[in-house]
Symmetry: C2
Subunit: 384 residues, 2 copies
């Protein structure tokens, strides 16, 4: 699997708008698009221009910004929506149609032949109006669709010779990594077009499933910042970056401005009005915090012992937590040295025990630990 | 894969205490243990009694509560720690030893033969002192260890005939689902003992990797509430439950008190002092929120269209968000009906457009939407 070839389609401005707390203003949308561009995602997907008057204006405006990231919009597969989308000047249009029996019966109500008829009409229309528009066609709820229906739909539409990219969507977040690998591999063997994968995260496998899709030959992965989207969302951008970084840090560092990852997350969290979870991938506050004595000891010798990701590559720093009962003598010795306090190993041992016992009784702060170290040092100096 | 056989080892009170924000008091520990027991995890792992005086007392007290969940503690593999652990009265002791060259060189400094010598001594000692104690031996950093070293360690220790369970740990969170499957499968073919898997989540694959371990024959999975732990933590309990529930809801509902999941999470979040992320698995506020018009329309016909998990099974409810620009006429019609307002489809269409346009300009609340519906109804009634 080569990571040089794949592209990220970030959908914070489309799927992300479907998150329960998100209600982006025009200004939010422009700033988030700029920030995604600064990070370097290859594509930015924005909400359908058919959704509301302002959404239409914003879609047009983002398409005109001249960003390095290509701008896509995501519309229902019908002529009415297509006519509006073509006029926005976006680089590409993402079409989708539910193919599972559940969505066909209780959603749009169309049969597979009807889906093919409508999709053919819409795709042909867009291509005639705007031949340069990059077109994607995705089945929705692909993992609850019959394989025969999926292949019939993909192959019939492929034969039009217009579609640049096919999409597979785990719409309710149920697929396992093996299921994703198998379906993507079948599609990879059936077409030479690009393959996009969209993973909902209801069962926590969105990142692993996206990785599995790439292993099977997918070329494009959908993400959102913080994983926001319908229900509990889709593949979080930072999680996908973490996954791929550990496999090939050089390529990832060349493709994306990794130092922008935190800014991008802070902006989106702020505009959605949610905190960044402390244990979010890479940019969460806890990601490079080392706490247990056994961990801090090893990290002080070689950071690779307990870090798969180098915080430097993201403009971040690691930290050692000393103010708790799990602390260890090596971490305390390191802090004493930082403070310029010359203490021998039995002194460090006894100070470590003191800190552990105090932490049993109260919430210690890092300042407390420094005070204990400094006052122990003074006492020991006076006594000697 | 049968889900009736596997067990959860919840480590919120051990790995979770290594989370940067966690500093549990004795009262916290007792309450969390009770709540884990109420949910029904098979095992509760608590911090080593060697860590601090209070940790030792708390370990003893939790072991004496007579909970249905078995109590384990997790200690370094040395005689000093083992002596203290045996005295606590826990049901089982989890031993670990770093086997990767990084941990051997920069962590504990022991060679593979030294590891085997020490482990043999410690295991034999514990077994002599307390034959009923359920013993687990885990390699640490298994996925950066040489396979030959791992097998030598596991097979030599297995030949003692004492160990009940072997552990595999993805200590820095780098393994992929395939790597986990392969390693667990090799161990499964090499021993008839139970196999435990411990997955860090640095690259977002902890849930998928845990599932992969079960597919390959693992019997025990480590979790923590909210996934808290060193750095960004391990397999989140609710995520594992979500993953397994979609495969076999009946078995999961029989094994665990799913209605207790939210209480447990609220308790731990409160004691750690962090909010539950809105998009956390199952119990996050957003998990059963439906927003886009196309989704709400289908859900109103059949909730399975866009829900892989039934909120009822967890004592939770779904909600429809109407106060935004992505809303649709079916959702608005549903709300009108709930409010007892008799509006025809063209009236609903025009009210939907009005709400979308207003949402472009301001942050609407659900109360706003109701007001718009009610005042439109009154106006239409007056005009007719």
């Amino acid at each position: 699997m080569s990571l040089t070839q794949f592209s990220i389609i970030d959908s914070t401005l489309r799927e992300g708008e479907q998150f329960y707390g998100a209600n982006f203003s025009s200004e939010d949308r422009l700033e988030i698009a700029q920030s995604l561009n600064n990070f370097g995602v290859e594509y930015i997907e924005v909400t359908s221009p058919c959704v509301s008057p302002q959404s239409r204006q914003d879609c047009q405006q983002i398409a005109r910004l001249g960003l390095h990231s290509k701008i896509l919009t995501h519309i229902r597969c019908n002529l009415e929506d297509a006519k509006i989308a073509v006029d926005t000047g976006v680089d590409g249009i993402n079409l989708f149609f539910g193919t599972s029996s559940l969505l066909r019966q209780f959603g749009h109500g169309k049969s597979i032949p009807q889906i093919l008829e409508i999709a053919t009409e819409v795709i042909t229309f867009i291509h005639e109006q705007s031949p340069a528009t990059e077109l994607r066609f995705s089945t929705e709820d692909s993992f609850r669709s019959e394989l025969s229906d999926l292949l019939r739909v993909y192959l019939t539409i492929d034969s039009l010779g217009i579609i640049k990219r096919f999409g597979i969507a785990d719409t309710v977040g149920i697929a396992t990594p093996n299921q994703v690998f198998n379906l993507v591999q079948i599609l990879r063997q059936s077409t030479d077009k690009d393959i996009e994968f969209h993973a909902h995260n209801d069962t926590g496998c969105a990142i692993a499933n996206s990785y599995s899709a790439l292993e099977a030959g997918a070329t494009h992965i959908d993400t959102t910042v913080l994983g926001i989207g319908e229900r509990n969302g889709i593949t979080p951008l930072a999680g996908l970056i973490a996954r791929l970084y550990t496999l090939d840090p050089e390529t990832l560092s060349r493709k994306y401005h990794l130092h922008e990852l935190l800014n991008l997350h802070q902006l989106v969290a702020n505009r959605v009005g949610i905190p960044i979870p402390a244990n979010h991938y890479i940019i969460g506050e806890a990601s490079f915090c080392h706490k247990a004595g056994i961990h801090t000891q090893a990290i002080l010798n070689n950071s690779k012992t307990y870090e798969a990701i180098d915080p430097d590559d993201f403009g971040l720093t690691r930290s050692f937590l000393l103010n708790h009962k799990l602390t260890g003598k090596h971490a305390i010795a390191y802090r004493a040295q930082q403070l310029g306090l010359n203490l021998d190993s039995s002194q460090i041992q006894s100070i470590t025990q003191k800190i552990k016992t105090l932490a049993d009784q109260q919430q210690l702060t890092p300042a407390h630990v420094d005070e204990i170290l400094q006052s122990s040092f003074i006492q020991l100096t006076v006594n000697s």
